[in-house]
Amino acid sequence: MAAATPSDILLCLLILSLALGVLGDANPFRGVIIFIVFGLVMALSWTRLDAPDLALAEAALGAGVIGVLFLVALRKQGEKDVSLATQRLRLNSVTIISGLLLIVFIVYLGALGVFSAWKTPGKGLVEPVYESLHLTGVSNPVTAVILNYRAYDTFLEIGVLYLVMLSVFALQPDEKAKFTSTEQYDRMLRSYARGIVPFMVLAAGYLLWAGAFRPGGAFQAGAMLGGAGILLHLSRPAMLLDMRGLVARLSLVAGFFSFCILGILAMLYGFDFLQWPSHLAKHAILTVETASTLSIGLTLTGLYASVERKLISPAIFYSGEEDNP
């Protein structure tokens, strides 16, 4: 087993201190910025741990899109933060005793965690995964795991994304957005977007294609596409698709639906549900990946758009009282 180098230790310390910054910084806005940095450093550590797929996903999704969502959520909110707590905690004997207890618990659990991590992990499924890799139609083992060996999980996971978008739909006010022409667009952002978005789409396509044999795949590509969408939205909100429109809906369910259809087809031809016969596996995987990329990209854009629409300036988009039919 490889011994940890000083750079490993440094990286770990960096991660921990960044986490402390995220949680402890008095300014929530700065906390979110630190969170994005934290996500990037996490991606770094995953590259260190031989998990480049995750590094990509984390950078694009965790740090990228989610970070932006956090930023948007805080932008107009400023220093004032929404809190559910009705009673504030005061320093008294109860809190002191609880704090002491908490420290004892944490120390104990930390020791336990160390103890449990110390046990050399079992061999896992490395061998069987690589043994059957040639039957899966892809050479990237992670893609093989998520889209072939455990395709059912991924199918449901795409369902989670679909579900989040559904939830956003279900909570939106009933009126259609009304755009006003007074909105000033940032010209620079616009031209920047015009230049960069095609490249991002191209990059997403590459990530999708590359997922078969090297790090990448639907989630990373989808996140990239989502980023492009967000950029587009930032520069020209008026271009925003009506997310409840038919085309948008169709693209939203594309990933989920293609999984269903291919799964059913497999069953109709006498295979198991979601089983790809080895000579068709590559095509099948590429099909669902493409559809999923589209869905993921659109979902992320839609999420951003709806969060922003709600949070930034409702007064611009809605005439009159909000939410009152």
Partner: protein
Amino acid sequence: MTAHLVITVVLVPILASIFTLFCGDMMRRVVCQIAGLTVLGSTCLIAYQTGHSRDVLNIVLSGWEAPLGIRLYLDGLSALLLLTTAIIAVCITFFAEAYFGVKARSGRLTFFWPLWFLVWAALNGLFLSGDVFNLYVTLEIINLAAVAMVALPRTHESLKAALNYLVIAFLGSLSYLFGVAILYTSHGTLDIQLLAELAGIDGPYILAAVLIFIGLMIKTALFPLHFWLPPAHASAPTPVSALLSGLVVTASAYMIIRLGFTVFAPLMHTPLTLLLGVLGGLAVLWGSVHALIQERVKMVVAYSTVAQLGYVFLALPVVVSGSDLAAMVWYGVLYFVICHACAKTAAFLAAGTLINVVKHDRIAQLSGAAQHWPMVFMAFGMAGVNLIGLPPSGGFIGKWLMLQAMINSGQWLLVLILIAGSLLAAGYIFRVLGIALQTSEDSRPPVPAPLQLTLTTMILAVLPLLLGVFSQLPFSLLAVGSPFGALP
């Protein structure tokens, strides 16, 4: 053939969810009915085949056998839960159709339907899952969809409740996920049956068990981690409350039983189950007492859920592996959970019907309501009979088995708690009924309760009684693939 049938149960609601996203009002109703009845039919067939062949079924997915791929696992327990879920779900579908009425024909409420079918699919997937990670994914779908549905009324209260629920459920799933990860790293598999064969008590195993149990305790709202449940269940629209209290918590309770008696069977009769039992007892008392002091019917029913879920944990300390007691607890708890699902749904639907006609559910102002809407209160009373645990309800049979196990092992405190819980349950049920049964001089002609609402409520209220009277069939189904064989 059965494999296809089993997949259907997951796929049809998913397809229904996708289709309802595109359909107009008329078409949507047709899709709802077709999907609902198809799943009901399929589950009936599955239950019949399972009971008939008396054989458990492992369904390989993606063509990869267990450690590498994911298996679905169908035994009597899964089949019975699928069937119960299907019946409850069809009733909720028809109820919601009438309850939302015109409001749901356009606008954002139409998105209730895709969400709802997704939850149903995930529930079926969860009951069929034979893989701990797959359980996590399905549970996550259920929870996120539940959160969105709690927030549906878009009132301040419901949004707060949904957010609280989301934070807590997220923490619960993370805890569960951590446990699963530890299990995988030490055993190299995620398949429940394989894990059950491999499991031996050591450090990581204990840590995994604790993390998984605590995660599930949060989701099952075990005292003192329960506070999120009553506001969430009470502030949601009624079909959602019913679905949450009837099915969603049943899913996590099911996971506790499933994992507790397979992967974590060696941990039974250890201090862990003792702790769970103590907390379960506290939940029974705490939930019941709170149900007694609530001012709204839905809050009473929601707190009753906290109390009733306590019973799931209450009986665990008496489980000594390999003995008759374990079998009694296993059967008793499962039967209790299944009947509770029906009765609780019925109780919420009754409350919802009331809200539909009276426009509120404040207990103090319900005086004399029973003479205007006798069927609603009859349904509530019948559901109450099950919640109290009186015969001939299935709740009685579940409690009876649990009680016998407790007495056999000499756990007197548990016996007392179970009895006190029953008395308190009688208290909060009859408190509502008592006020409703008073005579009132209010002679305004009552708004009749819509038939569709009353009928679905009634069906679900009768179901636990039927389950109590004709318990042999479900028990024989449960025995298929049970870790203990037939009921002693």
